[in-house]
């Protein structure tokens, strides 16, 4: 018997109405257009996409902040879209945001910030001791509980955000670009911490990022998101080693790499009038080629 995946998305849709003057509906935006994926326990699933791809909308729906217009979201095999899902659901999924400077309340001490979810979920046991344990988990000294966010560095703030997310013992962490605001050396240590915690606590991660190099090292499975659809998915080594979809190839070709070995593995992209094409250009080219084939 195989255990059900920690997170499963089934044909998830989100359509936003486009409103004109006086709120009249003028059209719609298919922000998420039929996304399915599943993440087994303990795995890191990387969702790669650029702005407008729908990755943030997916995160918001998993967190219960936005209702999907179609499809289903299952946590440990149970749909979270039913009426009973609220606090219990939130306890299972927590999120770490991109900018720790903005996601921590500047008027609360670190200890108070970490305590908020403990109080909200009625955590049993000594909460002060729990805060100390959480700080230790993210490798910060205990006395940091008394400090305010402005006294911390970017990396330290992100550690606090991770501690807060872990406070209520979630099963799944949604990591939305957790290191993109940090220096590379700090990023490396945060990723290391996330890996260690994942192993120790048996956590499952949905890692949302546009940094493909980081994804290659952190995730086991990757899904490439383009305009609300997953255009390519698979083991990260395979997708990055032999990309099949034009958009994946363009993404990989665009990564600013630092070694000749990496350069060699980037797919070659045909230039259009001496310029790097956009994704739309590439897909239009492919379409043309296809219709020509059909005519022949």
């Amino acid at each position: 018997m195989t255990a059900s995946p920690v997170l499963e998305l089934r044909d998830l849709h989100k359509v936003f109405p486009l409103r004109g003057t006086f709120g009249r509906v003028r059209g719609e935006v298919r922000a998420v257009d039929g996304v399915s994926l599943s993440i087994p326990k303990g795995q890191v699933y990387g969702l790669a996409g650029e702005s407008g791809s729908g990755k943030s909308t997916i995160a918001r729906m998993i967190m219960g902040l936005t209702r999907p217009t179609g499809g289903d979201i299952l946590l440990d095999g149970v749909s979270i879209l039913g009426r009973q899902a609220s606090l219990a659901h939130r306890r299972k999924v927590q999120m770490v945001f991109q900018n720790p400077g903005a996601s921590l309340n500047p008027r609360r001490t670190v200890g108070q910030s970490i305590r908020v979810p403990l109080d909200a979920h009625g955590f049993p046991g000594n909460r002060q001791r729990r805060v100390a344990a959480l700080l230790e988990m993210v490798q910060l000294p205990r006395h940091f509980a008394e400090r305010y966010p402005h006294e911390l560095s970017g990396g330290q703030k992100q550690r606090v955000a991770i501690a807060r997310a872990l406070a209520v013992e979630p099963r799944l962490l949604v990591l939305d670009e957790p290191t993109s605001a940090l220096d590379v050396s700090v990023q490396a240590r945060i990723i290391e911490l996330l890996e260690d915690l994942g192993g120790e606590l048996g956590l499952t991660y949905l890692f949302i990022s546009h940094d493909l190099s980081l994804m290659r090292n952190f995730a086991q499975t990757v899904g490439v998101l383009y305009r609300g659809r997953i255009v390519e998915t698979g083991a990260v080594a395979q997708v990055f080693g032999a990309p099949q979809h034009d958009y994946t190839r363009l993404l990989l070709a665009s990564v600013p790499v630092i070694s000749a070995e990496e350069e060699a593995m980037r797919p070659a992209i045909p230039l259009i009038n001496g310029e790097i094409p956009t994704a739309e250009d590439l897909l239009a080219l492919r379409q043309q080629a296809r219709s020509k084939e059909r005519q022949a």
Binding site: D183, H210, R216, N217, S259, E261, E275
Partner: protein, 272 residues
């Protein structure tokens, strides 16, 4: 190749609440005519202070230049009269800023904004050009930064353009004053990877086509490798290492550089 910009022994300090702290220690670097040079460092390394001192946009006080020289085409920027410096800034040396939205005025069209810059550049360079002449030049520079529909872009307001297009406008602005040195501050950092790749290629093509020197300020080692042949690495207000980009990336001499490069995740997966 003659040196266009040379920073020699630059030291800068900041005084806040009566406490003086030195942020640049004896920084020296050289940008030869027509060369592409990178100044790379993490936050707090002093790369932006160096750039601002070169451009003369450092707030003095709290900042104070403690020592050193900045020679541009043989003249010391730090001792020349403010009027001469103004004439150089935005003409012979132009700047491409990081954030395309906050560098553009939201209530004027692109052609208005480019037109203003062109008018000042013409005045400073003693050129005579009428309204129609300016319009021709604006459409020309928009084509130069590979805008697909210059006419439409010229009539647009910044909000109607994508991030990549706005970044192109900033490059067009820098080009209008016919600089010899382009200083780019984290170009493309705020953009998607595919757009960033386009912008970097555009910058590189433009500086080679027009024989410009480029000084690129960035924290992204990948960006450095794609665009610049020579690199200065900065940490804690000091230049820790400099040399050909390829050589530094393949065999860094200093511990700091070695650790920095080791921290960059590789597309090939762990340990190459």
């Amino acid at each position: 190749m003659s040196v266009l910009l040379s920073v020699e022994g630059l030291s800068v300090s900041f005084t806040t609440y009566g406490r003086r702290s030195q942020v640049l220690h004896d920084v020296s670097l050289a940008v030869p005519e027509g060369a592409q040079i990178a100044l790379v460092g993490e936050s707090g390394s002093g790369k932006s202070v160096t750039m601002k001192t070169i451009m003369g946009i450092l707030p003095v006080p709290p900042a104070k230049v403690e020592g050193g020289r900045i020679l541009f085409a043989g003249r010391d920027l730090l001792t020349m009269p403010e009027r001469d410096r103004l004439r150089l800034r935005g003409t012979a040396m132009s700047m491409v800023f990081q954030d395309p939205m906050s560098s553009l005025n939201p209530v004027f069209t692109i052609q208005d904004q480019l037109g203003t810059i062109l008018k000042y550049a013409d005045r400073r360079l003693g050129r005579d050009r009428d309204r129609r002449g300016r319009r021709v030049r604006i459409l020309e520079v928009l084509a130069q930064v590979r805008m697909r529909d210059p006419e439409r872009v010229a009539r647009s307001f910044p909000i109607m353009l994508s991030g990549g297009m706005r970044q192109r406008i900033l490059i067009a602005m820098a080009l209008l004053s016919e600089p010899r040195l382009l200083i780019a501050d984290e170009p493309g950092t705020a953009l998607d990877v595919t757009t960033q790749a386009q912008i970097l290629k555009l910058l590189k093509d433009l500086v080679t086509e027009n024989g410009l020197a480029l000084l690129m300020i960035t924290h992204n080692l990948g960006v450095v490798r794609q665009t610049c042949g020579y690199t200065y690495v900065m940490n804690r207000g000091r230049i820790v290492e400099h040399g050909a980009t390829q050589a530094i990336f393949e065999a860094p001499a200093e511990d700091y550089t070695r650790n920095l490069i080791a921290a960059v995740p590789r597309l090939t997966g762990r340990n190459g």
